[in-house]
Amino acid sequence: MSSPKDNRHRSLYDGSVWKVVILASALIVLTTSLIGFMSYRMTQKEVIRKLKTSDLSFIARSIASQVEGRIDRAMETSRIVADDPAVREWVAGGEKDERLGMLVKQVLASIPRDYDYTNSFVVSAATHHYWAESGKVIDTVSESDPDDKWFFNTIASGKKTDVVVDSNSARKDTFVFVNVLIGEPDRPLGIAGVGLSLKKLSEDFADYRLVEGSRLWMVGGDGTIHLSADYADTGTKLSEHLTAAALQEWNRSPADRERVFEAEDLSGGRMDMISYPIASADMRLLVQIPRSQTTGFLGSIKQSTTVAVVLSLILSIYFFTYVSRRMADPYKRALRLNEELESMVEDRTQALADKNREMTESIAYANRIQRSVLPSEEALREHFAEFLTYWKPRDGVGGDFYWVKEVGGVKWIAAGDCSGHGVPGALMTMLSVSLLDRIADQEDNASPSEVLRKLNVLLKETLGQTDREGPTDDGLDLGLVFLRDGNMQYAGTGIVMAVKDAGGLRMIKGDKPGIGYRRTPADAEYSLHDIELGDDTVVYMATDGIPDQNGGAKKLSLGKTALLEWLASYGDSPLAEQRNHFERDIAAFMEQERQRDDMTLFAFRPRTDDGTKER
C-alpha cells in the first residue's frame, strides 16, 4: 500500500471516530465532575445548616441546663436553710439560744460536708454576724465595707432569692453565692445561703468541648467571663478573646434568647457561635466552634467524592473508547475493503490498458498491411492524370478499399465497401481484393457487370453463403470502372458514382443487390453503364459512409445531394486541391460527431491515352 492511502485511511479514522470519542469523553468528564462537585456542595451546605439550626443549639441548651440545674439545686438548698424554723428562730432571737445555735451550726456544717458546696452561711440582719460552715462568726458585715455591699443590697432588694457570681482570679475559681432572705422579704431577719464553686463545672465544660479548637464561656452582662473551659479566661473580658466583629455580633444577641451567628476568630478562621441565656444566673453562654472542625469530615467526603469521580471517569472513558473502537471496526474494515477493491480496479485498469495497447499496436500494424494492398501513389500517378484519395477507416482498419489494376490494356478501377468495420471489415477487403485479382487474371471479362456477377458467385462460394440461411451473411458494395480505348464502362452496387465534365456533375445510379450476401441470388445480374469520356472528365466514387455521416446543426446524415453539391462546388480545380476542400468540409460538417462508418472518396481524371480525344 502506498503512503497516501495510509494517510487518508488514518485521517478518515481520526477525523470521525476520534472526534466522537474525545467529545463524548469531555462530556463524561464535565457531567461526572459537575455531579461530584454539586453533591459535595450540597453535603457541605446541609452539614452547616444542621450545625447551625440543631447541633449548636443542642450543645448550648444541654450546657445551660447543667449550669442552671446546679444553680437551681443551690437555690433549693439555700431556701431550705433560710426557711428552717430553727434558723429563723435563732436569728430572730439574736443568735442567743444555745440549743437552736447548735442545730443551726450542725446544718451549716453538713451542707459542704454532705453536698458539693464550698461553703454555707447565715448572716444576721440584727447582729450583722456572718456565721460560716465552721460554726463560727468569721466576719461582721459593715455597710462601709465594699466587700459586704452585697448583704445590704440583698436585704434592701426585697427579692427572696439572689444569685451572685464572684470570680476569684487568685484562686482561679468562680463562686456562685445563692442568697435567700430569712423571714418575710419585707422584714428580712438576715440572709442564709450556700457558696458553689464552679471549678468542677468548668472541668465539665472541658468535656463538653466537642471538637478541637472549640471554646465555651459563661459571660456576665458586662462582658466578664465567669466561667470558661480554660481557667485562664476566667475573670477576663470577652473582648480579649473575640474580634471586634464577633464582639459586635455578641452584643447584638439578646440576653434572653439563643442566637447563632458566624464570625472570624482572631487568627482569621471561620467560627460558628451561639449565644444562649442562663436565666437563673443572669448570664449568657457563648459557644464557639471552628468551622474547619465541624466540617472537617467534609474534607474526607471531598476526597472520596473526587476518588469516585476519577474512578468513574476512567472506567467510562475506558469502556467508551473500547466500545467505540469496536464500533469503528466495521468502518475500518470497509475502508480496507475499499482499498482492496481500488487496488483490484487499478490492476484491471492496468491489464485493460495493456490489452488496449496491444490491440492498438496490432491494429496499427494491420493498417500498414491494409494500406499496402491499396494502390500506391506511384501506381496511381502512372495510371491517372490526376487522382484523389480520401481513405478513412473508422477503427484503424476497415471494410473500405479502392483498387486499380491494368489487364490486357484495360484499366480496372474499383471502390468497395465490405460489410463490417474494423478487423472483420478489413478481412473482407483482403478477400474481396484477392477475388477481384483472381477474376482479373481470367481472360474472359467482357465488362464490369460481368466481373460483379462473377465476384458475387465466388464470394458466396468462398464464404459458404449459397443458401439463404447460415451463420454468416457478409458481402460488399462495389463500383467498378473499365477504361479501354477511350471508352469507360461502369457497373456498381451501393457506391456513390458521379461523373463531372463540361456538362456538369451527374450521378450514376447503381444496382440494388449487394455482392455475396445470402439474399443476393447467385445469378444476380448488374447493369452496365457506358460513360462518355469528355475533356477533363473526372470520376468520383464514394462509399456510403460519407453520405451517411451525421453532422451539421441537426446532426442529420449528410446525404448524397449535399455530397454532390460539395463536389460540384470544387469546380475544375486540381484534384489535390479538391481533396483538401473535401477534407475541410467533411471535418467542419462532422464537428464533434463520431465517425459512423468507414469513409472513402476516390476520384480520378483519366490520362489522355485512356481517351479517344486529344488532350
Partner: protein, 132 residues
Amino acid sequence: MGSIRHIQIEGTRSTPEVRFDPERHILAIRGQSYPENAFAFYEPLLKWLDEYLAELTAETTVEIELQLPYINTTSTKCFLMFLEKLDGAFKEGKRVSVRWLYDEENESELECAEEFKEDLVLPFEIVPKAAE
C-alpha cells in the same frame, strides 16, 4: 395473445427504442441503429416476431411504425429480414401495414425507406414527420 410478452427497450446512442405491444397490435421502432453487432440486437426481435405472427389471426390489424434516421449496413439487413417476415404474413392474408416517418431534411432516411419499400408488397406508407 396472452402468452406473448410486451417488448419495451429504451433507445441508446447506437440502438433504437423498441415498443412491441401485442395487445394493441402496434409495433414501433424509433431511432438510429448502428450497433457493432446488429444481429445480437435484432435476433430476439425477429424471434419474437415469428411467434407473434404465428398467433396472429386474419381479423387483427397490425400497425408497424418505423422512424429510423440512420441505420448501418448490418442493421439494414436485419430490417430487411424483419420486413420480409411481415410481408410474408401479409401475403398469407394478415392485415399488416407499415408506416415510416422520416425527417424531410434527411435525404438518406427517405432513400432508405424507399429502398425497403421497393422489395415489399405490404402497404408501406412513407410520411414526412412535418405532414403528420
